[in-house]
Amino acid sequence: VSGDASRFRRTASQVLLVQLVTLLLLWWFQQHFTS
């Protein structure tokens, strides 16, 4: 169970990191083509 919990924590951190990168990419996309 604790292995599951630590795997979840790891995957969840990855998910949030990937989302942050996605938002930054969208921000770049907006700035690059709109300005």
Partner: protein
């Protein structure tokens, strides 16, 4: 449409029904029928979660919204990854571990029977209605573009879905979802590739043009709570909406209750967290590229062919006059688009800037004439035009290569069917588990319950088809689906959050829920005016505050259970 395209659509329909029906022989008890005996792998559940959420509205309405409004809608999903992580820590382990069939069943364990029954009833009410709108969305478009009667369009989507859901149960629903999700993504990627080939300018120039007209503006950081899509409404309102949808709506909860372990259940949700925003961006980019395509190709004054026919018959002179002005405006916009790309009229590094301003002005002129045409549609038909939902179907039917049009139409059907199937399956579960077995037949045998479950699925399917036939004029396709949920979602989430707090009671939860719904009703009717993404926040916070205060003030009854954390 070409016979080959129809052959693809029919092959898809026959396959999905056959595949669902052959799974019916594996189902002998209600745990198998509703929860696949809690045996499914995370990736199948994850794809099912995504397919359930992605409906035909996404394929037709959201892509159309991308063409007219651009990327800003993607902000709606900013809260989803956060919500999935929160659910993975809180509700998912509990619900999965509690071995319940429905999320509402748990509320009886924690609070009392009336709270369970009320939340289950609200689910049946809102989802029963929204299931009808999910069928109606593509049916209304198919009716207009193929000239079919609405009843036939509803039947074409509804009957196959009811058949495989009714006989195959959740096994059929989940495995159909997996294939449908693959088909949907394939259709979206294919249409993007075709668009990039067909657009006469480079992808970079295409995005420059979209950017010049504001279509690539993703972020709106304003704190205006009357605005629907802002960064903050997405992050805060969106998180509450997604927590409510994925944490307390049986149509989603049931997906991950079928997972073989708690770990598989929450990994399935994280899969959605990974892919939802990029997928939604892809959907909107399809719309944006279609807009760029028509920038150079023209496109009709009205996208809805059925509405156009009616207007031509009723107001021929007025429409003709609009057509003439529209033709000139389109030509001007076409020229401005070419200049904006080539930078012919400017000088120096910013040489395209004057042409961009000209493009924005000519685009506004085209939109104004389109607005006049849509007002004419409303005058003639007595209903809003909703022309935006016909932009993508127009492109698909007129410009996609042979075979791909059939594939896209099958993809739209797949998107509709995957959502409808999950809804019917969960409506039947709540009906049988939270009402039939709870109140009428607590000692009903497996054979009887299985028979009633199948019958209930069929009856909900029939109800949804009837609602769909009459739901055509209920308002913008996207907003209607979200609005139905929004009315109750936040309040129900509030009850589940209350369940996690110590010292909260059944009476507090029940009356808190009523207060939350009252608050959402007030803001829905503009007292005060708050955009719909914030309704869930209003509902959840009202239930939490009122429920907690009442729990403290009112005497606690012995039957009120311990908080969530003390279970399992």
């Amino acid at each position: 449409m070409h016979p080959l395209n129809w052959a693809i659509v029919i092959t898809y329909l026959v396959y999905v029904v056959w595949d669902g029906l052959r799974r019916s022989k594996d189902t002998t008890n209600i745990e198998g029928y509703f929860l696949a005996n809690r045996s499914l792998p995370w990736w199948a559940v994850g794809l099912s979660v995504m397919a359930t959420q992605l409906s035909a509205v996404t394929m037709i309405g959201t892509t159309g919204q991308g063409a007219t409004d651009g990327m800003r809608f993607v902000q709606f999903y900013f809260g989803l990854p956060i919500a999935m992580v929160i659910l993975g820590v809180t509700l998912v382990p509990f619900l999965h571990g509690a071995k319940v069939f429905t999320a509402y069943e748990f509320l009886e364990k924690r609070f009392d029977a009336k709270t369970r029954s009320l939340t289950a009833f609200l689910f049946l009410l809102s989802r029963g209605m929204s299931c009808g709108t999910i069928i109606a969305a593509p049916a209304v478009v198919f009716s207009a573009i193929f000239g079919w009667d609405m009843t036939w369009s509803v039947a074409l989507i509804g009957i196959p879905t009811v058949l495989y859901t009714m006989f195959g149960g959740v096994q059929a629903v989940t495995w159909a979802d997996v294939k449908q999700m693959v088909l949907i993504v394939f259709a979206l990627v294919a249409i993007v590739i075709v668009l990039l080939i067909k657009i006469p300018v480079s992808p970079s120039d295409a995005f420059e043009l979209a950017g010049a007209t504001g279509r690539l503006t993703v972020f709106d950081f304003s704190w205006d709570i009357t605005k629907t899509y802002t960064f903050w409404s997405g992050i805060l309102g969106g998180t509450f909406l997604m927590l409510s949808y994925f944490g307390t709506d049986q149509s989603q909860v049931q997906r991950y209750l079928t997972a073989k372990s708690v770990d598989d259940a929450r990994t399935s949700l994280l899969m959605s967290a990974y892919w939802k925003i990029p997928l939604q961006a892809l959907v909107l980019i399809v719309g944006i590229l279609v807009w760029v395509f028509y920038l150079f190709t023209g496109g009709p004054l009205l996208w809805n062919p059925a509405a156009e026919k009616q207007v031509i018959a009723a107001e021929p002179a007025a429409y003709q006059e609009l057509q003439v002005r529209y033709g000139a405006a389109i030509q001007e916009r076409n020229q401005d688009a070419s200049f904006a790309v080539s930078g012919e009229h400017g000088v120096g590094a910013d040489r395209t800037l004057p042409d961009r301003a000209a493009l924005v002005a000519s685009e506004a002129k085209v939109n104004a004439i389109r607005g006049e045409a849509q007002a004419l549609v409303s005058k003639v038909t007595g209903a809003p035009a909703r022309d935006v939902n016909y932009i993508i179907p127009h492109f698909v039917l007129h410009f996609l290569p042979l075979g791909l049009a059939g594939l896209f139409i099958a993809g739209v059907m797949a998107a509709a069917m995957s959502s409808i199937a999950a809804e019917l399956n969960s409506l039947s579960t709540a009906t049988v588990i939270d009402f039939y077995r709870r109140w009428w037949r607590p000692d009903g045998g497996e054979v009887e319950l299985l028979r009633v479950s199948k019958l209930s699925t069929g009856l909900w399917g029939l109800f949804a088809c009837v609602v769909a036939t009459y739901a055509a004029n209920l308002g913008s396709l996207i907003e209607v689906v979200n609005r139905f949920g929004s009315f109750f979602y936040g309040s129900i989430l509030g009850v589940f959050l209350l369940a996690m707090l110590p010292r909260t009671s059944g009476a507090g939860a029940f009356f808190g829920l009523l207060a939350g719904m009252g608050a959402v009703a007030a803001v829905s009717f503009g007292m005060p005016e708050v955009s719909f993404l914030w309704h869930n926040v209003v509902g959840a916070v009202t239930v939490l505050v009122v429920g907690f205060v009442l729990s403290v003030v009112m005497p606690r009854r012995p039957m009120d259970g311990p908080p969530v954390g003390e279970f399992g």
